[in-house]
């Protein structure tokens, strides 16, 4: 039998005969809603809706200087929205009965998301299309696509975006190392539990702490232990952030050191989920260690691997703290990231409009890139037939 189907139902032994049409499976009470209740529900929803529109319109008029209501904040509109949201939920039950109750499982969450995500996003979009320097006495001025044009010719932004490409490519190396470590920790080695915890420690550190402990202390060019090691190995003037390429590689290494444990722990979980019988069967069939890995373990790990890489890319695209703390994007922009550039534009230069646009564009780029990547990942992980 299928839900809501038209199959014939035998009459129940109690003699109550239920409808044989409509949604049959989930309705547990027969709704017989009086017209007065429905009218009250509709009135409630429309009334509070109008109240919300009125509050928003009046406050907008005040914000535009048309009228002066003496209101200092937008709280009246917020309260009107909350009232409307509650009335909307109540109204669903009043007007639609059991169906309305079902809506209550989703509706509050939808209203919450709209209030706290969609509305700020739209407001953010408005700011992104504005000329808004906090020091400007004229305040926010809508300037259409000017910020996009500025971005198009902004060498700092494109440089940072290019750097992000290189930083993301480094994930391939991070993945290889993380996989190797996961295999080691999955093997029967001594003190396995200790190593599992020890290898996780970098992930538990704040990137700012990593910046100071490693970037500013261990890599200090005169007295830092790694600089001393470099000198002992014949590097005359060890400098980890002086040359653009070396600086970029050092930032990559510091970020990798922090986040490889994250990939490792995901891959380790994947490895432990593979039944041992599969490997044993491969060995019985005569597969060598390498073939056993490459043709059995690795393909089985693809879904986990791709998930780990995708999440790592998302983390990587947000890279800023280490860069801001250690190099401020230097030398000459070699280590700059989009986020650290936006931070300078927004915080140091109070350029709220342009900074918001850069963040919005970056969000769109990330969403598109991640969608493409997930499509590709989906194709890779789909079982071959």
């Amino acid at each position: 039998m299928r839900a809501g189907g038209r199959d014939a139902h035998p009459p129940l032994s109690t003699g109550i005969r239920l409808s044989t049409t409509g949604d049959l499976l989930h309705v547990v009470t027969a709704d017989d809603l009086p017209p007065g209740r429905i009218a009250f529900g509709r009135g409630l929803m429309w009334g509070t809706g109008l109240l919300l529109c009125l509050a928003a319109a009046l406050q907008t008029a005040q914000a535009m200087g048309v009228i002066d209501l003496g209101l200092e904040t937008w709280r009246p509109t917020l309260y009107a929205f909350i009232t409307w949201a509650i009335a909307l939920c109540w109204g669903q039950v009043l007007t639609r009965g059991e169906q309305g109750k079902r809506a209550l499982f989703v509706l509050p969450a939808v209203l919450f998301v709209v209030a706290l995500t969609v509305f700020p996003l739209l407001f953010g979009l408005l700011i992104a299309l504005s000329d808004w320097n906090l020091s400007s006495p004229t305040g926010r001025q809508f300037n259409g696509l000017d910020n996009i044009r500025q971005m198009w010719t902004d060498p700092f932004y494109w440089n940072a975006l290019g750097n992000m490409g290189w930083y993301c490519l480094a994930i391939v190396v991070e993945y290889a190392i993380a996989f190797g470590l996961a295999l080691l920790l999955n093997a029967e080695i001594r003190a396995r539990k200790f190593f599992r915890v020890a290898f996780l420690l970098p992930l538990m550190l704040s990137p700012v702490a990593v910046s100071w402990m490693i970037g500013k202390s261990m890599l200090e060019p005169r007295f830092g232990p790694l600089a001393r090691l470099g000198r002992a190995l014949g590097w005359d003037t060890p400098s980890f952030f002086g040359d653009p390429l070396v600086a970029k590689l050092t930032i990559m290494a510091m970020d990798a050191w922090t986040y490889i444990p994250f990939m490792m722990i995901m891959l380790l979980a994947g490895l432990q989920a593979i039944p041992k019988e599969v490997q044993e069967a491969a060995r019985v069939d005569g597969a060598s260690g390498w073939r056993g890995f490459w043709e059995v373990t690795f393909p089985l790990m693809l879904p986990v691997s791709l998930t780990a890489i995708l999440i790592r890319i998302i983390f990587k695209l947000k890279l800023a703290d280490i860069v801001i703390s250690v190099t401020s994007g230097g030398p000459g922009g070699a280590t700059d990231t989009v986020t650290s550039f936006i931070f300078r534009e927004y915080r140091d230069r109070s350029n709220v409009g342009y900074g918001t646009l850069l963040a919005m564009v970056y969000l769109v780029v990330i969403v598109i890139a991640m969608t493409i990547l997930m499509k590709i990942a989906d194709r890779f992980t789909r079982p071959r037939t």
Binding site: D131, N133, L134, S135, S136, P137, T138, G139, F156, E220, P221, R222, F223, T237, P238, S239, F240, F241, G242, P244, A247, T327, S328, G329, G330, P331, G332, G333, A334, R344, R347, D348, R349, S350, N351, V352
Partner: protein
Amino acid sequence: MKPNMFELAVRSAVSRRGLLKGAAGLGALSVMGLPRGASAQDAAALRAQILAIPGVGMGSPTDAHFQQVGELCLGPTRANVAEGEFAGVELTFMGLNNQNLHNILFRGFLKSWEDYTGAKINWIDLAQADYNPRLQQAIATGTVDFDIVEMGAPFEGDTAGRGLLDEMPDWVKEQIDMADYVGYLQPPVGTWDGKTYRITIDGDCHTFAYRKDYFTDPAITAATGMTEPPTLWSQVNDFSVKVKGQMDPLTGIEAYGFLDPLKYQWGGFGFYFLADRATAYAKHPDDAAWLFDPDTMKPRINNPAWVRAIQDVMDLQAAGVYPPDQINADPNTTAFSQFLGGTGGMLTWWGDVGSNARTSDTSVVGDVVGFSINPGSEDVYNAATGQWDKPEGGNFAPNLAYLGWGIYVTNRVSGDELKRKAAWSAAAHLGGRDISLWMATYPSGFQAYRNSHFQYDEWEAAGYDRAFVEDYLGSNQDSYNHPNGAIEPRIPGIFQYYSIAEDELVKGLSGQYASAQETADAIAAAWEKITDQIGRDNQIALYKASLGMN
């Protein structure tokens, strides 16, 4: 007084004998007074009395001491305000709580003021990092929710320039004795369009710190030919080139000359260090402006003077005279890691280097550090004629980087005369002549900023080492009172200009621009954009106002 400077004084100067001597001196001062009549005698006795709370070398002051000092310095308030006059008045005070100073002291100082006047103060405490965004957002969104604000002078453009501040009443000017301020804090600083808004409670400037042993070490003096610290940038550059290859007499590692922070990117504050060099070339004694043309806001950053400063740095970089990895050294690194750690012979910085030199555990240069005003130049660029002038004795223009903290009253109180008087009375209490001496001599977060703060006898009597005070504070005083001091423009968004300049400067230093001129042109172009965005006409008007040209 910065806390570490206080520690320095305590460590270097105070012995049991010295303390007794100081106490005796204070006692004598308070008993005998100064030969200036009864009121002068009372004032001297009061100053001696507060300087003994808790006493230099007796540990850091506590809230009880703040309250005690506040109570003792309440005299001017009593003269202008009747007891209970502000009963029922509530004021909101926004300030910092860095290192448990600033607002924390103000609370104690104002306790007796609140008790006497009947007013109540609500406090907004902010960490330094949160301060600028909080202030800027309050201004930009029209949500100023404080009546009294502790604020740096560079923000006067953002506040006074927009009419957000209340003009200082005349009785306040008399109460706080504004004529006592050091030269550079006199108007136009603290004023807009001829109106006074600021009660100064602090001073700031860059001074030149050098290693005295670099000018006595036989090998270094033989290589450089210099036995006296340089006074001109050309000498500094020459020394930096010639000292290369020598060994540091203190640490035994390679010796270096002047330490430019080649990373520069430091939230806008790194730009001050290029300005240290440039002011000598760009600040003409006949012209108050040195960053922009006051009539057009056209940047001067790409004029020959500034380009010369950038070129100096590029030349030294090309000559390889800096320590390794200097391209990644910000001002914090040059001062606290390099100079105090025994790397490099000279740098320019705020007062912290002087105090840390002898108090910081990581400093090795405490006994060999000397101070003077920033170096000068044989010639100075005249923006009006486009020529280089050669003033007799050279051109000196100390960089009065950041103008210190002040107390301001916002226009929220302007419509209520009682509240207005209360706000100004509270602010005046904190900016009083005597209470400020206490703040200059004990940890408060504030430096000396009045001419009366430089009476070294008072410091010596309080227990300080005279030689240190004269050397260290003397360089500050000489900078403050210099007739050609380079005073920061107090225009809106000044740190935005500095910040983008830092970004472009490091691009130039990493070879992404073909020359110093091209680097300077890139900064100028970025500055023009900012000016247009903030509003050119408005910036011109405010720049002129900040220079006192209206």
